[in-house]
């Protein structure tokens, strides 16, 4: 998408500077070409990939090739499939060998039904990997206490969930996200659950540094067009945050924007 707003409004994570505040996952796309088109349309500079054993001879072999054709993309391997800290640590090391990138999205969800991140295993993996020099970006429950603990062990960012992975339930955790943003000294990136660009805008408006989307784009009718819509929404939300939203009033009170003189009333002597 076209550059809008202040060109200097970049953000930094793990010592790397990014101008795009939209991160993209690469899962669930129809094919590699659709994925590459969508990522290009999103303007994303940061994309996630997963790690699996070689075998089966699926077309996913072409994935990396398609991604590398796009310029200026930083890969963030995830640890999906890991159910424990030990498995995630192993996956992170393999991912770094393949990507050459210090970034890792620590993702540990033991229950395939709800895919909720395990806070204890996530914390342990983050602690070990941060000490090894990884730029750890943990997918985590939207919990401000855990957020502080993850920040204290050296995570590069926090990636609390908006709602369950792939659910499209939006910012169900909005109140907790606000608390995390208020307390965080590292970038907060909403990861998972977004469906509509307006939800991405809302996340940026509340002060989140960025959002990560995948299903919302991959499962859209026109993934590239939806990626562009998300990019615009993210830019709008960021501009709104920087501009400073007006204070919220009470539910019942309205405040007029025009002078409330009763100039149309009959003047009674």
């Amino acid at each position: 998408m076209k550059e809008t707003g202040n060109a200097d409004d970049s953000w930094t994570v793990g010592g790397h500077r990014f101008t795009s505040r939209l991160l993209m996952g690469t899962g669930k796309f129809r094919d590699a070409e659709t994925m590459a088109d969508a990522i290009q349309a999103s303007g994303a500079q940061f994309v996630t990939v997963a790690l699996r054993r070689v075998g089966g001879g699926s077309g996913a072999d072409d994935l990396l090739e398609s991604l590398l054709k796009l310029r200026g993309i930083t890969l963030m391997p995830n640890t999906s499939g890991a159910r424990t800290a030990a498995e995630a640590i192993r996956a992170a090391r393999l991912g770094r060998e393949l990507s050459g990138s210090p970034f890792v999205k620590v993702e540990i969800h033991p229950d395939p039904h709800h895919l909720m991140p395990d806070p204890i295993e996530t914390f342990e993996a983050a602690r070990v990997l941060a000490a090894e020099g990884f730029a750890v970006m943990p997918y985590m429950p939207a919990d401000p206490v855990l957020a502080r603990r993850l920040e204290d062990v050296g995570c590069a960012s926090l990636m609390p969930q908006g709602s369950a992975i792939g659910s499209g339930r939006g910012l169900a955790t909005a109140d907790m996200l606000r608390l995390i943003v208020r307390g965080a000294r590292i970038p907060v990136i909403v990861d998972a659950g977004l469906r509509a660009p307006s939800e991405a805008a809302a996340a940026l408006e509340m002060g989140c540094e960025a959002v990560l989307v995948n299903s919302a784009v991959a499962a859209a009718g026109d993934p590239a067009a939806m990626a562009d819509a998300f990019a615009r929404a993210v830019a709008a939300g960021r501009s709104a945050f920087m501009a400073g939203l007006m204070p919220r009033g009470s539910e019942t009170a309205a405040t007029s924007t025009s002078p409330l003189t009763s100039f149309l009333s009959p003047v009674t002597p």
Binding site: K28, A50, L51, L63, G95, E97, L98, L212
Partner: protein
């Protein structure tokens, strides 16, 4: 020589090194991470690792994922 490749028995015909095994299996020059008997072998060091009968070799690659 028989090795265990990603959990399955695999009979190598000529490979006696990790690099040779990758070439024999069609992964020479491809982006794969190699784990030999539980230890990750960095790409630059593969030629130096000899294979022995019964070695466990695992190959990993990137796939699409969020």
């Amino acid at each position: 020589m028989k090795v265990i490749l990603n959990g399955e028995p695999f009979e190598t015909t000529r490979a006696d090194s990790v690099t040779g095994l990758l070439e024999e299996t069609g992964f020479g020059g491809r982006e794969v991470a190699v784990v030999l008997n539980g230890e990750m072998i960095p790409a630059g060091a593969r030629g130096a690792y000899r294979l022995s009968e019964g070695d466990h070799v695992e190959l990993f690659r990137f796939v699409a994922g969020g």
